[in-house]
Symmetry: D2
Subunit: 325 residues, 4 copies
């Protein structure tokens, strides 16, 4: 469903080519100082413009509809909306009959019995991450000194991002990447066993971001190759500090006070000009299609701030839940 | 919290050395044929006994307390409990002051303000996976012809499981591994955007299993190294069948009818005899401790059936949610 | 929290004197025909204008922001907003220090640590019932032939509504009333024991409406005065039809196929010109205040359609939940 | 569903004539002192034995399965079970074909497609209130000095309880009653608008108790007969104390610090020996049936402690939710 969180809850809505996309934030404590300017830095990080990003240009100006008064959160739901301005819907008319490989077109059509707004991916569009980032800005305020930082660490298996992306742009193809997120100043005790481990909550939210196909904490998949005697992080002081951090700051699903570290795999952008085979649902025949429109050659470039926002939303919820005990 | 699911919900309870561990299953449709024998195969797969597994021997006999009558589910909550029989609590007395590296001892103590039942890991124990497997047996019935199969594909980075485990046992150390889960006969349309993608739900539940540190779907992390033109799975018939399956049977968070494929990273067992450093919370001094007790050298050997059960629980919930539309 | 429902969920936001009030409807099945005109009848019923209602005149034009395309629901969240136009905020400045008796001013201030938007009652305003009615219009479509009808049956203990309200207007006072809601064509089996009885769900939602202080089903409070032999509704055919309906169409928390009947008590409007004592929070001294502004002498007149909408929202959720089994 | 609460959650299971009834309490803060003896007083209040109560005698000994160790709550789920001992299942065999008027037999059969355990009402039995009372005992500890007291104030419209019940017993009939619950030492600010008003939460939980048909807060239904100038409770000090309490301690769905007062209507017991008409589902013919078995002539006598427990469960959840901000 389109709602996430237990005590700090976000409810998202909108489509790529509809009137607006937005988010309702329920459970934001009152008395948080929030101004329109607060959103700019993170929204700009998400914006296109860099090498290999789409030419769709949205002003991305957050419109606060409720919940903030005199520059402070009131404790009532905060609705933040973004109008869709730079919409060219004609590009998408063929999606209806020939679902694009790698996209949600086919499943969206099936799930909605054919009533989905397929323009620009509709509700599945990366456009929805704009309100997510806005909610993340508020979440970051709530978590206070806990610092969430995500950055791209690998593109197409390489650390020469520019080269890989340039090649992909030239080839009218796309590339994926890996993002690492580090969260510091984390209190001990976030996470609620058995089913709401901090990994459970973070992964749940992170996999909402379009294009994510994997997540690993601490040593992750490579950690399966080392022995327990090496993996176990020795505890070196009574605050729980450990000398290594193979567990990624989490034991038994609960934060141990060390840095939370996780990495996510972002698949190569699905929209590419290179023609691929799909089925024509009208004729039932195979057809080769090229995805027209304005797209990112490496969506991973724009995802770090979305990962941060999503992680901050989870942490805000977990902090509020922890406070309650 | 200790409850998972929206329409098919499980509520878990119990500690390693308490009276019993159990699970309450809410939302099981009436009219499911369920007998005591149905649980045996999966519970046996979870049991210890194989090379490198613990010598703690629990009969693991499920006791059905409610919700099943005349061999059929009634639609009311099903409570299934397992008594703890082979308990040797004396082994654990030192946990209190010297939290074991790699374990949840430190965080459990902090989170509970010192009131946690630390014997055998208490509520954090792998023992809780017995009721989870039992709930999985019921979930598998609900999902009908959808087939969930998980198996160990790698131990300590190698495919010679026996050799790696033998070496670890000999060295009084432990090893981790990777489990792959494949789910076939999946209907199109499971998964509820934006926040309840099928990856979100599966990862949420899977990360509840003790010792899991990573999950990836389809091509996963390796998928970040290939181009979009290769990653995109071409659609080859009007049922949505694709020629490759890099997306792991999921587009836009929704099942596309192809096999769901995911892999999970299981860390090396935390309990090892090899001495490691920790802090003595009484004296504040560093201390080397060896984890006594009866443990698995490679817990990953016993986890596949737990992964299956957990995935089946998620699918049962998603199927019921889908049916409702 | 500001979200209600499990499978058909509404998320409400906005304040009386803010930019807009609105609602996000999550879980509306795709393929529902919905046009702007559909909202008019119910929104008009809620409007002021009748004897004893406020002179605040809002156009109450629903703006659909998402989830509806080509006149049909897409299955994605539907956001419907109402702009606040006829706002006269200066009337409310004194609320801050002298909480109005009978209003939420005092508790809103306390709960928000003084950060609440108190203008016109802020988030507590009856203005929020406009989006609720809009969501009810959509819910009514989903429940199909189930018919929900609420009407005022008593004002100030009398059935001469006009007389009672006229007197109250003349006296610059206010009156309350009782609304009866009848729901027909109800399928057998709505309601989910133990905790989600149909009474539980209906009462939960109904008590969200400002000013409701009681609810009773079937014979209700008067039913405590008759014997079981009279109260028990005899079953007269195999569809479950009963000759009487003291249970209000509900047994064991589940609909029995007969008409659901419930009544709600609406308190007299809190805002009255007649001066009442309160505390001046600045000086700590008692003070008499008269509530200025534009108010309803009998809010109960406008509530029936809100009761209908709320009941329809509950039924839509319960129908979808029932379908899932 | 069979789970209630957001942060303090109870999950109930069991049937009247099954192995046991029980409850899992999730979210109980650690460090609560809880002993077996703590349950006795409230469980005894719920027990039969008084005039007009059933002759079924259950020892009602709570068995704590988890979550309490060394006499203290650990923070992990607390499972409390009650074995069913005094079961005479033969009494109920006819229910299957001839649903008892006033009972849930018909709807339970329909909802479960005929798979319900109908013995003694199965999962719909008042027997389920035993675990509810046990959970209430724990909830009362959590809410500390908040005092919840419910008592019977009316039987069959009269205050001569004994006389009314005696007459009913003699006539092999049953009577209902009204219970009043008063909650004192309530902090200002419990309740979470818009949808989780304190009335919403209390009524939701209270209507789970079998036989409840109405609830009213403060002046309730009678409050609709007085003018706003009388209804409005004047505020007489800066703690929010009011001189009258027509609002029942609640404004805008939030506690105002005054006593919470509500009354619930308990219908006359459905099980009576007096023959009533029903349908024989096999033959489709009308039939007169007398409800055999051991029943209460006035179940309302045993309900006050159940109302208290239920209210305490709600308050515990609301307190924990409030603490989190």
């Amino acid at each position: 469903m389109n709602i996430f969180g237990k005590m700090f809850r976000v409810s998202i809505y909108g489509e790529s080519h509809g009137k607006e996309v937005g988010i309702v934030i329920d459970g934001c404590p009152s008395g948080q100082k929030i101004s329109d300017n607060d959103f700019k830095v993170d929204l700009d990080r998400r914006k296109s413009g860099a090498l290999g990003t789409t030419t769709r240009k949205e002003p991305d100006i957050p419109i606060i509809k409720s919940g903030i008064w005199n520059g402070m959160s009131t404790g009532s739901p905060i609705c933040i909306a973004f109008e869709n301005k730079d919409v060219k819907s004609k590009d998408y008319s063929s999606i209806k009959d020939t679902p694009r490989p790698g996209h949600a077109d086919f499943v969206a059509f099936q799930k909605s019995n054919g009533f989905n707004d397929y323009r620009g991916g509709g509700h599945f569009s990366g456009r929805l991450t704009a309100p997510l980032v806005a909610a993340g800005v508020i979440a970051k305020k709530i978590i206070g000194k806990i610092k969430v930082e995500a950055k791209l660490i690998e593109v197409s298996g390489s650390d020469d991002f520019e080269k890989e992306i340039s090649k992909a742009v030239k080839d009218e193809d796309s590339v994926g990447g890996i993002i690492e997120c580090r969260i510091s100043n984390v209190p001990v005790g976030l996470g609620e066993p058995f089913f709401d481990s901090i990994e459970s909550e973070l992964s749940h939210a992170i996999f909402s971001i379009p294009g994510i196909k994997g997540i690993e904490f601490g040593a992750g998949f490579d950690g399966t190759k080392i022995r327990g005697s090496v993996f176990n992080d020795e505890i070196i002081d009574d605050s729980g500090k450990t000398d290594t951090n193979n567990s990624g700051g989490i034991n038994g699903g609960i934060t141990n006070g060390n840095e939370i570290v996780f990495r996510v795999a972002v698949r190569p952008t699905a929209s590419i000009k290179k023609p691929l085979r799909t089925i024509d649902l009208q004729s039932g025949k195979m057809k080769k299609i090229s995805t027209e429109g304005r797209h990112d050659a490496c969506i991973a470039v724009r995802v770090p701030v979305v990962v941060e926002a999503t992680a901050a939303i989870v942490l805000a919820d977990m902090i509020i839940r922890k406070n309650s005990r």
